[in-house]
Amino acid sequence: MAVSYTSREQIEVYRFNWLVAILVPLLAIFLQAFLPLRFPFFSIFDLPLLVVIFFAMARRSQVAGLLTGAVIGILQDSLTHHPLGVYGIAKTVVGYGASSLGVKLDVESVGTRLLVTSGFYVVHQIIYFTIARGLVGLDLRWLWSRELIAAVANAVVGVLLFTLMDRLKERA
């Protein structure tokens, strides 16, 4: 399994239809807000984060990645009663990181996607917790067991979701 690229020519850069670029994040935010009411266990997933990772890795542009993360994060923040920017900052960093990694790794394979998604989930949570505790003053408790289980769960869902969303990609 080729994990890293040997030359720049092997990198495939994708773009998305503007409708897809708008509707998919909105759908992810909608599902994130709607499904936990019916299925409380669903709150362990972070669909907007998975969408950020997917878009960032497919576009392979760091600026596009961080902007996608910032917009989706702020939209997610606006549904909560906390100040805007907590999810925004965390997803901005993840978007930048995912697009940077997308340039260097073969992010099309299932194994890489599992690793990358679970890794970025933990990074996202660390940033979120730091900001929420340090700036917003929320009393959060970090539990490695819970975060690692959530990371694996998100990675599994992410792989399935990425396979579906691969169909929406267009070669740039």
Partner: protein
Amino acid sequence: MGRYRNVSILAAAVFIQLVGLAYQIRKQTGKDAQDSSRLIRVWTISAITPLEKGIVRLQTGTVNLWHNYVYLRGVRQENRELKDKIEQLQLEQVRLQQDASQARRLQALLGFKEQFIDHTVAAQVIGSSGSEQSRTVYLDKGSDVGISLGMPVISAEGIVGKVILVQPRVSQVLLINDQTSGVGTILEKSRLQGVLKGRASGELMLDKVMSEEDVKTGERVLTSGGDQIFPKGLPVGTIGDVKHGGEFLQVQVKPAAALNHLEEVLVITQRLEREPDKTAAKSMRAADILAQRLPQVPDKPAGAESETGTPAPKPTTIPSTAIQPKPAAPVGTGTVQAIAHPGTAGSVPLANKPAQAKAPTPGASAGITMQPRTPPTGTAPPKTTAGKPTSTPTQTSPTSDTGDTPQ
């Protein structure tokens, strides 16, 4: 510079958001906390909630269609059971109405403010914040139907939360298990008061309960009204685990309302808070209140009194044990209240002085004479002389038979 272009943009994006975040946090201490960054919230909520509303209505419609027109198995049996239940509840309602009116009179005598839930709006829960750190839900009704900030939200089981954001057709509710939420509570039996707070995990904990307090698992927790949001006496939940250690107890509360599965809720849009009617309270006598509690006696046959022109020859002293809440009975039957008119019995309001029960005055159409409850100590039992009962002045405390003091 080109080499660091992307990193610079990242740093700028993070920096801008950090500054914005700090600005919002600083502003939250001011009066216009909800106005900051309102536009983005309005856009997002306007984009997401119509879809949520649509899906919820479609789901409700489909379920209703199935249950109301297709799947009617066992409906007749259920209908019979419900009718039986209604009959039982009607009897119960009569008893509760009597208890409630009695409680209101006592409350008026004691000069308490009364709070009534005057108007509620039923709303459907259409969405959540999608974050475990922000336990809020969205309702499909907003300022168009009179919902405004700070209104309490309840369900059939217990309290749910309070309104923290309102738009014309949508409102956001902060659930009681969010860590920024706080509810004034009181334990039903021990009358211990405390503030109920949420934890990051979604648990409800009773804050600042001293370790020497006796808190029993399973005891009901009610709203105390001290938070000025929830009316007093609404169910909050029951005491779960109680952990000792340190200065304070760790008291976990199981919520009465299913906060994870909310579907329909009521927003209390109007509350009546009024001082008790002082004139009514003044005209009310302790004897009247006690008379409410006496067992019922059937009405005398018409003309029986006019034949003698005097009360019944041998008044009966009701033992203190007989002063119990009235059993459920159909409305309209004769009660002792009819014979305890103002002006014929002891007239000292409960709030001011100990009530004194006097001997019945000739002309008071009494078939029996009532005695106030015998105090526990220091009071001689009432004496009855032939034909003329005398009663020792006794203190009538406004305690109910269950021993609860009206709050």
